[in-house]
Symmetry: C2
Subunit: 321 residues, 2 copies
């Protein structure tokens, strides 16, 4: 690890989520000079005396432990953070901005908070979609903004697979609309806390054939029965000897992701549009397989979207040149 | 509790499920003279020495503790049991019978096992539907057979709401086809083991308005996004102050049951048909509300379907006159 100097620390940027805190030190050219990860998500902060009465103490302590050396070496480098740190359970709540909107609007609405560490922290607000069923995101807006550097299509559908998958429609660079699917969290709850998990054995390597078999069910006549019914087949195919215990986790994953993509296709406009994926490569690969099954795409994957987004938002905010 | 005599004990019948053991003493007219409930479901048997090596000992012990006095007073009364006692985890596995079939076929295929208590126990087999996604039931077949006494329609759709809701199509008294929806278990897993549960407060009395609001979502344009997406609205409507914590459990229940009924309607033939419900009255009431929302029915509720089914199956088996 090189000792940072004023010159190579133009911005300290944080991706501060529920379970982890990721830190990026940017040089003056907007390149990441150093990155670090810590387990200090907002639900897992270091234990600090007095934090029960004043939670800010725990956030400050995590920030100092994570980036104190960068801050000391670069007293003028601004601090920016995206993610759940701006939620009600975070350091301070950054009110949601309403879509549709253009990315520069977000950069002009960062929440400035006093860190007690001789420089403020600017928190990126999340996005709210006001509709019959409202929708929210916090953190993903920054990834989308970063990925938009890479895709210049007039119309884009950006998917962020994960615990709560987001699908974001972007038109001419503006974030228009988004949907959330709780696919990842539902998968976890079904595997760990229902009868389906009892016969499952996690395979050593992902079982693509089982995944695709599940994904195809959502597309078949049987898919009409819906997710709540189809998932039971994970058990009954096991009972009849048609699905090995080792194949059951990926089959269930395919069923759920298949239904997510099927719904997405039903909701999407009929115009061909590029689909961009942001996230864990193994998970993006599965989503790509399911999207191809449904004839959707072309599909591209974004890289380092979070850090790119943090830099761009800092630019929009006037924190960096 | 009257002391039974040979005359008023023509059949000892058991509904032996995962979490409970319900016992019925029938008189010679086929009326229930006495009923008892015990917590000795197959996953919760009394602790008995040697049961680890020989699980039958625990089953025998539970049976004797539950009905030993009835058996002593009526040495010739036959024993019949339905439910998970016939599963792989039960006393002995009673192989599934394949639908379609007529109820009397089930009665002729009871599994006879030696109890070690001077009379055999006859276990009702479950049903298997062989199809692209197979389906199974164990216990519900007995309830359906009991309820069929009450409905003589040529075509019936029978719903058994619960942890795993079953929907059974019956034509001219034959069980043709059935589907399973894991609605109850999914509700439990989502409430207890996902972010949705964190903001929920169980209301003192069921909130029908919240339930119907959820059920209507499945029917609306937003319903196109599917269960995996719609459930997130439980959280976001809370975040935007549009859904009180006390309304969230019933809203989620309405969402899930709404999607179950929506899928059922998509799958159903277009002929008008009577819908019969069997199960917990409070849960059946909710299903009735959702069915009415979808214009399905007329809806009738069955009473004492389990005991009626056990008696009829004992008749088909020639155990009682």
């Amino acid at each position: 690890m090189s000792k940072p100097t004023e010159n190579d620390c133009a911005l300290i940027a944080l991706d501060w989520g529920t379970s982890s805190l990721r830190c990026y030190r940017f040089d003056a050219h907007g390149s990441v000079a150093e990155r670090r990860g810590h387990p200090w998500g907002i639900m897992n902060l270091p234990v600090v005396e007095g934090a029960a009465a004043n939670p800010a103490l725990a956030f400050r302590s995590a920030l100092e432990a994570a980036c104190g050396d960068w801050m000391a070496a670069a007293p003028d480098a601004p601090l920016i953070a995206a993610g759940m740190v701006g939620s009600k359970q975070g350091w301070r709540e950054a009110p949601y901005l309403t879509v549709p909107l253009a990315p520069d609007r977000i950069g002009r609405k960062l929440l400035r908070i006093d860190t007690g560490l001789a420089r403020p922290l600017y928190i990126v607000p999340g996005l709210l979609q006001v509709s019959a069923l409202p929708n929210v995101m916090r953190g993903e807006e920054t990834q989308v903004i970063g990925a938009l550097q890479q895709w210049r299509d007039d119309e884009l559908l950006i998917g962020l697979p994960g615990t709560h998958s987001k699908w974001v429609r972007v038109t001419h660079g503006r974030i228009q609309h988004f949907d959330t699917f709780m696919t990842g969290e539902v998968y976890g709850a079904l595997s760990a806390h229902t009868i389906l998990g009892r016969t499952m054995h996690k395979p050593d390597v992902p079982d693509d054939a089982a995944f695709m078999r599940g994904a195809r069910v959502a597309q078949s006549a049987e898919g009409l029965a819906g997710v709540l019914s189809n998932i039971f087949s994970c058990r009954t195919l096991g009972l009849t000897g048609e699905l090995e215990p080792q194949a059951q986790p990926d089959y269930l994953s395919g069923l759920l992701i298949g239904h997510e993509i099927a719904a997405l296709k039903d909701m999407a406009s009929h115009h061909p549009q590029r689909i961009g994926l942001i996230g864990d490569p193994a998970l993006c690969r599965r989503y790509r397989l399911a999207l191809e099954l449904y004839g959707m795409g072309p599909v591209s994957e974004a890289e380092q979207a979070t850090e790119a987004g943090l830099w761009i938002l800092a630019q929009h905010a006037g924190l960096v040149g």
